[in-house]
Amino acid sequence: MLTQENLQKAESLFKKYPEKKAALLPILWIAQDQEGWVSEEMMKYVADLVGVPYAHVLGVVTFYTMFNDKKLGKYHIEVCTNVSCMLKGSGKIVDVVERACGAKVGQTSADGKFTVSEAECMGACGGAPMIAIGEEYHEYLTPEKTEKLLTSLK
């Protein structure tokens, strides 16, 4: 369920588009921002709100990599390993991240603090190697800087 405030935000989106369904992705973003992920219950709720079948919402959530149908750790660490980052040593960054977070790529640390993912190019190739923590980009990394950055997270 969306909070009253978020529900209003969601409903105000409908007027941006000629058809309600177009508001599906933006509303899923609101839902994910609120809960940190999109549960089955939330998908059903959003389906009703937008007026599409639950199966459609499920299809959309699973198609787009940024929608999480599982709970993630408090910090989502995404390491870009695509070409430009790879050339600048993203392999070492992956090692440091896995060690410092206590979680391998695709896993969440036992204390629920970190989820580590390998990411495709995030459009920051000039600042390679880079990681994203949530919405924040951290560029021009070295293994040392990465370690420092991660240990500074509370």
Binding site: G59, V60, V83
Partner: protein, 421 residues
């Protein structure tokens, strides 16, 4: 040279500063012209799309039906997910108003009353910046009802993607905007006939739109003389990989790749004085070039075509002499396999085979026949799919094997030696 898209003007992203430097004058000028005259101006300027295919922008606009009997749409492509590409983000951050002004002019020229800027989900921070700029432009009366008292009305909205490279492909982008999974559509019908919500639609890249005010401000003749005649204008080149000064640089089209890589005002050379082994000139889907063959190759459509590659998104990736070419291609193949939407068998299966085979090469487990097999699989994908992601997956493989064959054969031999021992 003077810079127009990313000038060195502090706070240019703020509407007041943008206006102080002549911002929104092009819009005022355009609104005094007939819509067709605006399209004509863009046509004559020679502007070609900056989203990858270099399609003439004015011509694309002229495909839109005239009249206002049904709604028409503009989708501005800010998905920017082609590896090696990071230029549109600079526009969102440092010059959003030039893009917005271009969008309003485009809407006026094509009789469009709603435009959507589709921006990749990873750029949420930058979407907020664009939203801020849009709000300021609304407040000044440049967007919305009865723009500057001319009776013309148009609205511009941002729309946030959610992590899928394929949504940069124009028909997948439209499906995504409509609240669907990002599956490309079969063409025809083309978007100018049947696009968003079944209505005539134009799709243009962010940087393409940012070029439009320049043309209106200073005239097509002035614009067409920047850079090379057949592909004119300023172009944002993203330089990454093994250079001392990676970043986005604005240059006129036609600058030699070696200048972009080595000149201290651009890439600043390869670290530790190493040699250039290979260059991918325009994002990961464009064909790789050998370092020793870069003499005389320039950043424009014709020159790169003659060299056996293409401009793509002008995302220049530089690889030094120590680079493991096989590993780079394996990483690229992984990307296209991961991003294939799975609708067409040649793309879905082919990209998977390519990735698997390349991992065999990486680990010294490939056979001699596999070198040819790689090219064959790529050839079977190319041209046999619904969208150009299939081609984008094939081109790197074809060009890497053609131009660095020895690197692949070396990896085969290692295995044979191991077996003989």
């Amino acid at each position: 040279m003077e810079k127009y898209i990313l000038p060195n003007i502090p706070n240019y992203h703020k509407i007041d500063v943008y206006e102080q430097h002549g911002g929104y004058a092009a819009l005022k000028k355009a609104l005094q012209m007939k819509p067709d005259e605006v399209i004509d101006e863009v046509k004559k300027s020679g502007l070609r799309g900056r989203g990858g295919a270099c399609f003439p922008t004015g011509l694309k606009w002229s495909f839109m039906p005239k009249g206002n009997d049904k709604p028409k749409y503009l989708a501005v492509n800010g998905d920017e997910s082609e590896p090696g590409t990071f230029k549109d983000r600079q526009i969102f951050e440092f010059n959003p108003h030039m893009m917005i002004e271009g969008i309003i002019i485009g809407c006026y020229a094509m009789g469009i009353t709603s435009a959507y800027i589709y921006i990749r989900g990873e750029y949420r921070k930058w979407i907020k910046m664009v939203d801020g700029a849009l709000a300021d432009a609304y407040a000044k009366g440049y967007i919305g009802e009865n723009i500057l008292g001319t009776g013309f009305t148009t609205n511009i909205y941002t729309h946030c993607g959610a992590g899928a490279y394929i949504c940069g492909e124009e028909s997948a982008l439209m499906n995504s905007l409509e609240g669907e999974r990002g599956y490309p559509r079969v063409k025809p019908p083309f978007p100018a006939q049947k696009g968003l919500w079944g209505m005539p639609t134009t799709i243009n890249n962010v940087e393409t739109m940012a070029n439009v005010p320049l043309i209106l401000n200073k005239g097509y003749d002035w614009y067409s003389k920047i850079g090379v005649a057949k592909h004119p204008g300023p172009i944002l080149v993203g330089i990454s990989g093994h250079v001392n000064k990676p970043g986005v640089y604005e240059v006129p089209t036609g600058v030699p790749l070696l200048t972009l890589i080595n000149d201290p005002q651009y890439g600043g050379g390869v670290p530790n004085g190493k040699k250039i082994k290979a260059v991918i000139p325009g994002g990961s889907s464009t064909m790789v070039l050998r370092g020793e063959n870069l003499e005389g190759v320039n950043m424009d459509a014709d020159s790169l075509k003659a060299a056996g590659s293409s401009v793509g998104t002008a995302g220049l990736i530089v690889m030094d002499e120590d680079t493991d070419i096989v590993a780079v291609l394996a990483r690229i193949a992984h990307f296209y396999h991961h991003e294939s939407c799975g609708q067409c068998t040649p793309c879905r299966e082919g990209t998977g085979w390519l990735e698997k085979m390349l991992h065999r090469f990486e680990h010294g487990e490939a056979r001699q026949e596999d070198v040819e097999m790689l090219v064959e699989v790529a050839n079977q994908i190319e041209g046999n799919t619904i969208c150009a992601l299939g081609d984008a997956a094939a081109w790197p493989v074809q060009s890497f094997v053609k131009r660095f064959r020895e690197e692949f054969e070396k990896r085969v031999k290692v295995k044979e030696e191991v077996e003989a021992a």
